[in-house]
Symmetry: C2
């Protein structure tokens, strides 16, 4: 049985994977996995992704040293998105922030959306 | 100022948007927004997506009646993923589950990944 039998990878062979802190519920990042990244994630217990910019497998933390230790992996109802629950060994974001989602959409951005609709 | 100035939509004009329960932290679903879906989300306070299968704007709950009331919208460090924190008015998933991520990867699936690596 191949993993791909049960998961819908996109036309590039990738599936989005949300990483979430298993204790706090904080969403840490969204990465993309190919089948090999998922296999390595499951077998090693650490998150692997596929870097779309570098077009290569990417063991999260190979530069920063900050790994994501995987507790469980979930798929959604359509089997086309993964949710990785785990614990990071430090700040996940390359900016030094705990999570990559540290910027709230600004008032200016929201007003721009209203103006365009008006 | 256009919203797209600050966000990276993909080659299809879409950006993935993670919906999360603002109180419990539970990840509810991953959808895709085009610029118009994001505009309507920000102006209405309810989540809109772009349905890739139906190729049309999709006001979440237009069939089920289950809306996602948006509390805040966040972008990630690369500005290519959104995080919607909000409250759903009922079970988000079309299966009747509270979240679309109700299926943990099975032991069989994980063993399959080990075998292939061996």
């Amino acid at each position: 049985m191949r993993l791909t039998n049960n998961l819908q990878f996109n036309e590039k062979g990738l599936i989005p994977a949300i990483a979430q802190d298993a204790d706090t519920g904080e969403v840490l990042m969204l990465g993309y996995m190919n089948e090999e990244a998922l296999r390595r994630t499951l077998s090693s217990g650490e998150a692997w992704f596929y870097s779309r910019s570098r077009q290569e497998l990417w063991h999260k933390g190979e530069t920063s040293g900050i790994r994501i230790k995987v507790h469980s992996v979930w798929k959604d109802c359509d089997s086309d998105t993964l949710l990785i629950k785990g614990k990071a060994t430090g700040p996940v974001c390359h900016t030094g922030n705990k999570t990559c989602f540290f910027q709230q959409l600004t008032k200016q951005e929201i007003e721009a959306s209203h103006q365009k609709e008006a």
